[in-house]
Symmetry: D3
Subunit: 268 residues, 6 copies
């Protein structure tokens, strides 16, 4: 069948997940435009490469031109100092949405994070309408960009799917990931469903695989059709063998955000 899109933009394309998507989304668009602040190697024939800082509005404005939808994974992916977070994640994401508005782009798929709600306890189960409880400046910036998506949808009808990614790795490596793991295949499915569902409005969805353990309830986003196939439970024996201790007050296990919630600033 013909590809679904003419041109998709992936920001953060040099990152770990950006690299996965660069490979896995090739069949969905005639052209994948790839963006990152770092080098992304050589462009394949179906690729366009734009290296830039998302905080540079003019660069973003031209990068977004002629794009159908944006898969926005760019920005700082871990905790950092406040001003770097503001620069890369807050100003950078504003530029993505504002450029999308000016260029007529219809939809943004955003890499939000469980760290937007990382201070809920690991013994709570929350849905997609739970109040924000960020566990870090990083998490705060994710909250901000979700709200930015809400604003751009309500005012300008730019749709967005905000994926609160759990732990997206090749396989789960600790007990927390028995609940938070998102496989690469399931991430890819979630992006594809977000791209091809005809109407998404402003949506929030958790990015976790079909794990036996779940902190998160996606039922209010079931219209997106996300049906994860992988299950961290298959790795349970391996993970339990590694960590025989089950202290419930271990930093990893107290809060949904794990170590992010436990980390304290290093005030020298």
């Amino acid at each position: 069948m013909a590809k679904q899109f003419k041109r998709l933009l992936i920001t953060g394309a040099a990152g770990a997940l950006g690299t996965v998507l660069r490979n896995n989304l090739r069949d969905y668009a005639d052209i994948l435009r790839l963006s990152d602040i770092n080098a992304m190697g050589k462009a394949a024939p179906h690729e366009e490469i734009v290296q830039c800082d998302l905080a540079d509005f003019d660069a973003v404005l031209s990068m977004v031109k002629d794009v159908d939808m944006i898969i926005h994974f760019g920005g700082i992916p871990v905790e950092s100092d406040f001003h770097s977070i503001v620069h890369s994640n807050i100003v950078g994401s504003h530029n993505i949405y504002e450029a999308a508005r000016k260029q007529g782009v219809k939809r943004v798929i955003y890499a939000s994070s469980n760290h937007a709600i990382g201070f809920y306890k690991s013994t709570e189960v929350i849905d997609t309408e739970a109040m924000h409880r960020p566990d870090s400046f990083y998490g705060l910036s994710k909250c901000f960009v979700e709200d930015l998506g809400s604003y751009y949808y309500d005012k300008f009808k730019i749709e967005s799917v905000n994926i609160r990614i759990g732990s997206c790795y090749a396989e789960p490596t600790d007990r927390r990931m028995l609940a938070t793991w998102l496989s690469f295949d399931d991430l890819t499915q979630l992006i594809v469903k977000s791209l091809t569902t005809p109407r998404v409005g402003f949506a929030v969805i958790y990015g976790a695989s079909n794990n036996d353990q779940q902190y998160w309830d996606n039922s209010k986003a079931s219209f997106l059709g996300y049906a994860p196939k992988d299950n961290a439970g298959h790795y349970r024996e391996i993970v339990l063998a590694k960590l025989p201790d089950t202290d419930p007050d271990h930093a990893l296990y107290k809060f949904q955000g794990g170590n992010f919630a436990a980390a304290m600033p290093d005030d020298k």
Copy 2:
């Protein structure tokens, strides 16, 4: 094993779904009594045929005699003018319940419709207690008959299962049906479970298959044991190929009721 019922009545037996049920329910009752306003062909040995207008109370009263339960699929199955809807769906269904009361019939399985709630947005997920939001006179009549079932249960203990059927076809043919499709097998299962669960009270349940995409949450009706097996997601590639456009404002996609919600009256 012996059949579960002596005699079941199917109204609307000449319709598309009635025909499916006429075939699929033969093993559940010694006798299937079939009713329609239109001709239904020749009766098989296990069948009794009663052609009548449901708005004719006397005809309905005798038709309902000696029946264990009623599968009420009769009436106008699409949008129509108000007075036809009142005649066939509102008065007709009143006659079914009132005759059931007089003849001591214990339970009604009713073909309600997603058009009883068709004005919810396709980006909302609703459960079986959501307020009515009919999208048509047709949908209004479905709301009415659900309320009628509520009344007859509360006052006279006639139980009912009100199935809000999505899109019951051989296979899904557009993107909306990725969420709303109900396979014939799953419809049959839902009817059988509604007939054989010992106690159902007044129940509302959505009739959708086990589709990846879901507008509807049946968790409050899980006591009925409906466990759909089919999944419109298996047709996703075919459906996407047909409709490359993903305009979120396309009439089919804005509201759960699809074209019914979008249709405007033709005031000449």
Copy 3:
């Protein structure tokens, strides 16, 4: 100040509550157009009188012309046989809305009833989004007209306020009315707020005074600004003196709908 409206239509103007409104709304419109199936006496200078059956669509269509908003209290106000209810309340109310659509009337204030939810127990507290639980054919027609209002708002943007009137009398006369009483002044206030709140959408609100006892929670309709002033509790001593018995299974007390819920059909 100038009157808020040029012309308001009151249906059911010869009824008990219609008479109250005929008197109490005179300051809110230059002209009150009054309608009933019964005679309404002589028109005052600020009144127009239209005697007609609401089931007569042509009569309704002309009656609705040049009206700003409709206060729809017409129809049968008590339990009756099914066909009379269909004629007067279901067909009649359809005609009101359909005529409003054709004549460009913006809003309908409807006399719905607690009998739309009369089968909730008197020990439950329900809000304005509770599922219908009609206790009579009368109550069923109220459910239907509420759904009709929902339909006309979603499809045609005709706004409506659906007031589920409790027991609207000069004063409370039994223990049930300690919860359900609505004074004439509070009814009037509720109508006035419904008329003058700039945007009401499709609203449902319970019509009870500021009684100590409450079956109903109007918090989801607080945008309407209804602030009842009267309180059945002031009559508590008088009412208790009359009815020293407190059998919790007395028909009046079991269900919110009181005797309507308890009444059984008289099958001769």
Copy 4:
């Protein structure tokens, strides 16, 4: 891999479910300490046997020494007279928790019961935060011990998982068990997950298999990772053949607690 625990205590180890667990949990601890008021046969090399009455605090205090976690299935497992229930279930369970506190035991897995909520109707679906509705003195004692667990967690940080067991048998044998059945394998899984999830806090979860029919919604306990594999639905045909009658008022079917809810005291 090394066993997860040094020593687990199972109370009620001579009972039907205790016997299942005695066998199925052998791989999870170096030593299984077994307790019952009745004889438990000969101890295997990996077992320690302590026969005692749980109402004897000193016996319980020494029994609980050096135990990692307690699987508390002891006490009277059916309806009984009030004073026996107080002795065995209320005082006995208090002793378990109080001894756990004094001996530093971290977690209790408790055999609560559906009879703690047995008076909900079989047409309701409830979650783990529904109010108690005990159907018997037995059920009342289950409510009490859940609350006891809540108290010991909030005040002393002793974690507990309170499993509201449905009908735990080799296979389902009546229509009620189509919803309430818990297979031995699924019970075992639920115990294992309760033992090995790093943090459980105070948790309540229903013990039912992956049955098509469900009275209970475990979504708020999904952090425990319970993923039942068996399904009473596979026995549906057999069960239906046995009980052709479907009287919705049959005692077994009216309430979730089945015959417990229906049973009345025998006042001679």
Copy 5:
């Protein structure tokens, strides 16, 4: 007007609140039967005095004879050792209900306590369906008796109102009481409404005055008509002057149960 009741029983009549009720309820019954384990002084002409231990079933059985309703304030009113609590509050309250069943008493008004939910935080607002979170053995017994009331209503139709009393004193004396205070007049009103509302089923309601500050939401019990008149806020200035410190971690302020939640056992 004639008195509402022939004979009311007040247990715990020698206690602080029992003494208030002994005085304030004299107009509501021809005879007040008073019970306590302690001496109650001389009986007035409208009084009957029965001194007994509620744990003595035979004494309770005869005491309950010919009583219309029971106001059950007896038992230990503060934290105590587990076995005393079981004896006085658990066994004693069982006897009250069981005797009521045998003697045909219709309703019990029970002095439950905020300590049944004392471990909710003082920054949470909970309603009458919140899960129990007892803060003491005392609180646990209150939870138990509420569940006992639920059982006796569901199985035997003995109605009950379970009043979770906050801080019932002449006036509020610390900052916690700005939220939890219940004046004697408001207590009396709550008892009277509980006695005279025709149908109460099994009800739970918080006993707090109309304080500006509220931890508790009684909206689900609004059918009882409790309309408190007093307000701890009038004492705010006095209370603030006494306690200039506002340490949010002060034991009194952390949890709704105040010092009960903070108190730890004294393990010598």
Copy 6:
């Protein structure tokens, strides 16, 4: 009585509301430290004046020293360009919280705004846990600072009360303000309650007077004891006289945020 606080800091003290608070809070602290980017006139004996830009961290750090609590009303109070909002509201508020953490300040009272949720419809009623729906960059910054408060409470136990101010003026001047008006006295009360409630955690509360009309439900914040005294309803006749038109699609009335939600960017 002695004043409750030694030193309170008011930021934005030169603004309209800051000026109100500068006057009204004088009795609550020995010293009011006042801050603004603009001049604030001469300091009274009980005042300290610090003119600075909140985006200057070092200035903020020293300004916050020796302060008990902070009333943070500083920043841009209307819609502005994105970068000014980031500078003044996002970076500025970060500096307040970060300085509070370093200086050991215990609590922040923040002037959030209805524009954090301005895209809810005026026919919806939302509570304090509703998802953010900002209507402007200004509103987005309010969302951000609320989330910042959540973060600083969860990680560092700095408490905050986030007041979503409606329309704080001397009196209501349009129909929207019938719902959104906050009188100066009620604002003052809300600040005082926020300062003196012993424990507030992370709290969100709407700042509206006791208006008949309400968009907002503060019940989850009732532990704060806010009991507004003024009522925009007293101005209803005056307001209605000014605006005879009741077009429900008037920009002011469609959304809770009024003109902020309706305003579109001016792209030249």
